[in-house]
């Protein structure tokens, strides 16, 4: 009966979200700009929560508390710094300018924007290809998270593949019917829902443990090192490189980067930035502290399981554990649907149309987009069944891959002297090296290249510097091509 109740809450929640998507579908138009960007009409509350819910995924909701449980609550600082502060600053630096030129020139994707500026279909396809490559493991991460969540909630009655399949099915259905407006609306619902359930769960567990002070005391009795800042996993190199690679990576994530195009007005953007750190704080403190406090409780977390559902099963009523898992599914779904939607816009607009069929009708393009989404999600589902690492490892790999795009894009936005060759070198070379590093860990024949050096410094950080140096260096020694047009990125008042 409890099992039925738990599953009922989770599935019921998914159905409500789907219904909201259908309402949004009914008010949508059939243009690409409306489907992918909701006609650039998003207001403050929805922009804030759609970015928030899109950003926070299985990586945050389960990976974060898991890491806090295993290695200490410093993860709160790492994620708070990168999401709450560094990402907000990058939102100013990259996002506002992208919004200005995107609204003026009608850009829908990052690749389209760069391709137009440098007059290069090759660059456009390269950026889209790299983005889709790293999007794949991240979609997979959501499916892994959902699979693990339902195993934890139902004590194994629902198998891992069942949970992963459930979310895959919903994602495909969702993206196929609802465009960005539907995604943004459900994100708002999901963001508010996530915040409420995390606070409810934290309040419940903390009162069961005898208050915040008692929970911390219990944590320190079991793991004294959790009280002091730094040490263990949290070396200076780990904190700095994780914060930098993820924050820069996030700005190049297709589903986040496209959020830079959708605001209704500058005032919307400004209000969202200022509110952002508070929103981040409100979610991360209870979520990650729950993970850290769990280390002081007698609960045992089985291998491959997530700490949050296990703790809730122990200290909270079954319905609350189910509601929190529904909240986590919300986090995963709100990220995945946005990822698939953005991925499909990159695929159809930057790869299919320019390279395969330039004269495809809107109707045909819409079908290609939906088939692409289904194929992409299905392949990621198959890959998720092999569980190629923990949530944090898989997530970190994708973030670093995206982070390598950030400095060339900043160059292009702010330095009119940037050339097409400089961009291609700055994007392609570091990506190729990073891909070799990632693959060397999987392919047995190749000696494994280290992902971190000198006690926790991520190689991606070095490759980011290389990407910047290559973009600037190669631009200086090459001449702008005839097709490129720096004025496309000029921002003027008139």
């Amino acid at each position: 009966m409890t099992l039925g109740l738990s599953l009922g809450i989770v599935v019921g929640y998914l159905v409500v979200a789907l219904a909201l998507g259908l309402v949004a579908y009914r008010v949508s138009e059939t243009t690409a700009e409306d489907y992918y960007l909701a006609s650039r009409s998003i207001g403050t509350l929805v922009l804030l929560f759609t970015t928030f819910a899109t950003l926070l995924s299985a990586f945050t909701f389960f990976g974060g508390p898991n890491l806090a449980y295993a290695a200490g609550p410093e993860w709160l600082i790492v994620m708070g710094t990168l999401d709450g502060v560094l990402f907000a600053v990058l939102w100013y630096v990259i996002g506002y300018k992208q919004w200005l030129i995107g609204a003026r020139n009608g850009y829908v994707t990052l690749g389209e924007m760069l391709g137009d500026r440098f007059g290069s279909t090759g660059l456009r396809a390269l950026v889209a290809g790299v983005s889709l490559l790293w999007l794949f493991p991240y979609v997979m991460l959501q499916q892994m998270g959902a699979g693990e969540a339902l195993v934890g909630l139902t004590n194994g009655a629902v198998p891992y593949w069942g949970g992963a399949a459930l979310i895959t099915g919903f994602m495909i259905l969702y993206v196929a019917v609802a465009g960005l407006r539907g995604v943004a609306w459900t994100d708002t619902l999901q963001g508010l829902f996530m915040l409420s359930v995390v606070w409810l769960a934290a309040a419940w567990v903390v009162s069961a443990l005898g208050g915040v002070g008692a929970a911390t005391e219990g944590m320190l009795a079991a793991r004294p090192e959790f009280g002091s800042f730094g040490g263990g996993t949290y070396s200076v190199g780990f904190i700095v490189s994780t914060a930098i690679t993820i924050a820069f990576g996030v700005t190049m994530f297709p589903q986040i980067n496209q959020r830079f195009f959708v605001a209704k007005s500058a005032a919307t953007l400004k209000r969202s930035f200022a509110l952002w750190p508070v929103l981040v704080l409100l979610l991360f403190v209870p979520a990650f502290m729950l993970g850290a406090w769990a280390a002081g409780t007698p609960v045992t977390v089985p291998e491959n399981a997530n700490v949050l559902p296990v703790v809730l099963n122990e200290y909270a009523p079954a319905w609350l554990a189910a509601v929190v898992v529904a909240g986590a599914m919300a986090a995963m779904m709100s990220s995945s649907d946005s990822m698939l939607l953005s991925g499909s816009s990159y695929f159809t607009r930057d790869l299919y149309r320019p390279l395969i069929d330039a004269d495809a009708s809107e109707r045909r393009e819409a079908w290609i987009a939906r088939i692409g989404v289904a194929a992409f999600a299905a392949l990621a589902f198959v890959a998720s069944l092999f569980r190629p690492g923990t949530l944090i490892e898989v997530g970190d790999t994708a973030f670093s891959g995206f982070a390598l795009l950030a400095l060339p894009v900043i160059c292009a936005l702010y330095w009119p002297r940037t050339t097409r060759t400089g961009m291609i070198a700055g994007v392609a070379v570091p990506q190729a090296i990073y891909l070799a590093v990632v693959l060397s860990a999987v392919v047995g024949a190749v000696p494994t290249l280290p992902r971190t050096v000198a006690g926790g410094w991520d190689v991606a950080l070095g490759l980011m510097l290389l990407s910047g140096a290559l973009t600037v260096g190669v631009s200086l020694v090459t001449a702008p091509t005839e097709e490129s047009d720096a004025s496309r990125f000029a921002v003027v008042s008139d």
Partner: protein, 88 residues
């Protein structure tokens, strides 16, 4: 001092906000205050400070001037008509 010069103050401000979002001065400190390790309180206070300064920054108009735009309090669409229109 011209307006654009005073705008430059924001660069070190942001550098400090980013750099000390990680409570480096409390490295290794394990004091518990009001139920939580003291460095967690630093983090909470720091993000609050960031939100306040971000609000001040966007109000100052330094952002627009930094990008060569005329600071304005309108809806920011002075760069030209947006494709796709202003439909709600």
């Amino acid at each position: 001092m011209t307006r654009s010069r005073s705008d430059l103050v924001w660069i070190p401000t942001f550098a400090i906000l980013v750099a000390f979002a990680v409570p480096w001065p409390l490295w290794g400190v394990d004091r518990v205050v009001a139920g939580l390790p003291v460095w967690i309180w630093w983090h909470v206070g720091w993000l609050g400070l960031c939100a306040a300064l971000f609000a001040l920054f966007v109000r100052s108009g330094a952002w627009e001037r930094g990008m060569g735009r005329r600071p304005e309090s309108s809806d920011g669409r002075t760069g030209g008509p947006a494709l796709g229109g202003d439909r709600r």
